[in-house]
């Protein structure tokens, strides 16, 4: 079987070594790049299945590299950053990054995010039914079931849930969710999003206060996790 290949673009050799050991021992093949230039070269000659990109590279701004890569590269790009600056992360996500990790991150988290991003990249886009552990969404008939029994959702709740579920494992920014569900005119009215996420959680979560499907990413957005126990 072909191992998925991961390109690590990070100027710190220690981090590259750590990631290489971690990823190789988990059955990924790893390519390393120490600079943005090297990284872009590598992606253009041997496109990897996934890119781990450090935002703080010495030779070029990580955001520029991301934009540059996104001109042709469609596989997942995951941002690694030492910055907890939410604006920076939101900017990267808006520029086409699939996910982000903040240093220091734990290995378990890293592997779960990579698995989820790669699974996403390989799924059939035309599937009319999404089935998760306790939730299923039948898009053709607009039926959402929890533990086998149908639950009633309003039109907005339904479109919010289907948008989230189509992006299983991925962080969606507040602005993106508002644009897609309520329209560009409402992209700053986050109060809608807060209220509908709360309502949706009451309907689909076993414990709405300790959600396992719709995860809050503080200051950034929401992440849907279809099958929480496989993480």
């Amino acid at each position: 079987m072909n191992k998925p290949s991961i390109l690590v673009i990070d100027d710190e050799s220690q981090i590259r070594k750590l990631l290489a050991i971690t990823l190789q021992s988990n059955n990924y093949s790893v390519i390393e790049a120490a600079t943005g230039k090297e990284g872009i070269m590598s992606v253009s000659t041997h496109p990897p299945d996934l890119v781990l990109l450090d935002l703080g590279l010495p030779d070029e701004n990580g955001h520029n590299i991301l934009r540059h890569l996104r001109e042709w590269f469609t596989n997942p790009i995951m941002i690694i950053s030492v910055q907890t600056n939410e604006e920076d992360i939101v900017k990267a996500l808006d520029n086409g990054a699939n996910d982000y990790l903040i240093k220091p991150f734990r290995t378990g988290e890293l592997l779960a995010r990579i698995r989820s991003a790669l699974r996403k990249a390989g799924t059939e886009p035309n599937n009319s039914v999404l089935k998760f552990q306790d939730i299923s969404i039948d898009f053709a008939n607009r039926i959402v079931k929890k533990d086998g029994s149908p639950i009633k959702l309003t039109a907005t709740e339904y479109s919010l849930l289907s948008l989230l579920a189509h992006n299983d494992g991925k962080v969606l920014t507040h602005r993106y969710l508002l644009q897609q569900v309520w329209g560009v005119a409402h992209q700053n009215e986050s109060q809608y999003l807060r209220v509908f996420v709360a309502q949706l959680r009451k309907k689909i979560e076993s414990d709405p206060n300790r959600p396992s499907h719709i995860i809050t990413e503080s200051g950034i957005g929401y992440r849907f996790i279809g099958n929480p126990s496989t993480l």
Binding site: T84, T154, Y192, R194, Q199, R210, T216, S218, G219
Partner: protein, 360 residues
């Protein structure tokens, strides 16, 4: 030490006070000069100027001395309603009046300068003391975990063959615990420097308090397993405009503080409410409470209760205070009547009830 009642920016106000007090004294003098005589009035004016000198800056006081001398001359010294002074002894008195008023102003000013110098020196000493505490605390809190990590890796590298599997596991566990602790300290230091950098911004957006509180609790789950929790948030609580990330850090630090200072099985109660235009957030525990004489110091940077366990830098609560104040809010701590203590955070901010969307 006496406080300065007025700042420089209030110079107009100071002039106004000088002039009005001199005018008021003159009016009183005018009505009672039959009893006290015009020389008595001079003493009344002198007292007024002296009082002014105690509170105001030198320039308004000098103006008051000058004005009062003029008033005394014009309205009281015969011949009245002229600036001429009839008797020679009154001329000397007027001159002396003026000199005494000036000396008064100058001396008071000098005393105040000295006070200011002392205060500055005190502050300098305080900051040196503060810096020493900082270095002590930091070197201890950062070097302890680093020593653990280095020691453990040295052991693992050099004596790998001689260590039992259980020992190895123990050492690896030590490294892990030390790293988490180190990370926590660095996180606190970064937050503190973020606060003090001045480039720090509050990014407000609508927040669901329920989501905020539970999100924070989820992050703290491993720590909270041995504690009892009660969360009381009313269903109809509006959304508030706050910085979600900062609020999360505030609640996180408060809970961390409780877990550091109270025994296991302590009950932690978190309440949120909307009182007028304020979000009121309280976090209470039924632990041992704070020593009453230290309660005012807990929000100070690097302040640690006497005999508190290792693992903290004394930064957590000062970050809470900093982040709350960045929201223009207040935080206070009190001991509860029976047992335990309570933190109360009040933040004035916009709120909204989104109700009409229910059926969308």
């Amino acid at each position: 030490m006496k406080k300065f009642l007025f700042s420089r920016s209030n110079i107009k106000k100071q002039f106004f006070i000088s002039v009005s007090l001199v005018v008021a004294t003159s009016l009183i003098g005018f009505t009672i000069q039959g009893f006290v005589g015009y020389r008595g009035v001079a003493f009344m004016l002198l007292v007024t100027v002296s009082i002014l000198a105690m509170f105001l800056d030198i320039v308004p006081v000098l103006a008051a001395s000058f004005l009062s001398a003029l008033v005394w001359d014009f309205f009281f010294i015969p011949p009245r309603f002229t600036l001429t002074v009839g008797m020679a002894e009154d001329r000397i008195l007027l001159l002396m009046y003026f000199v005494i008023a000036m000396i008064n102003a100058a001396l008071t000013n000098k005393i105040r300068m000295i006070e200011k110098a002392i205060k500055e020196r005190d502050e300098k000493e305080k900051s040196v003391r503060f810096y020493n505490t900082l270095l002590n605390s930091l070197s201890h809190e950062l070097r302890t975990p680093i020593t653990t990590i280095l020691g453990s890796t040295d052991n693992l590298q050099a004596r790998s063959g001689k260590l039992s599997d259980a020992d190895k596991e123990e050492l690896i566990n030590e490294i892990s615990v030390a790293s988490i602790r180190l990370n926590q300290q660095v996180e606190n230091l970064l937050n503190m420097s973020r606060l003090e950098s001045g480039v720090f911004r509050v990014k407000k957006d609508w927040c669901d308090i329920n989501e905020l509180v539970y999100k924070t609790l989820q992050r703290l789950e491993p720590k909270l397993q041995k504690y009892r929790l009660a969360v009381e948030i009313p269903d109809q609580l509006p959304l508030f405009k706050l910085d979600f990330g900062l609020m999360e850090q505030i609640i996180y630090n408060l809970i961390m503080n409780v877990t550091q200072h109270t025994p296991e099985d302590t009950l932690i109660t978190i309440q949120a409410d909307c009182v007028r235009d304020k979000l009121v957030l309280t976090l209470a525990d039924n632990g041992t409470g704070f020593p009453q004489n230290e309660i005012d110091n807990v929000f100070e940077k690097f302040y640690r209760l006497k005999g508190s366990p290792t693992g903290g830098t004394g930064l957590g609560l000062s970050i809470v205070k900093g982040f709350v104040e960045a929201h223009h809010g207040t935080v206070r701590l009190e001991n509860l009547p029976v047992r335990g203590s309570k933190f109360t955070i009040e933040i004035p901010t916009e709120k909204t009830y989104v109700t009409k969307l229910k059926n969308e």
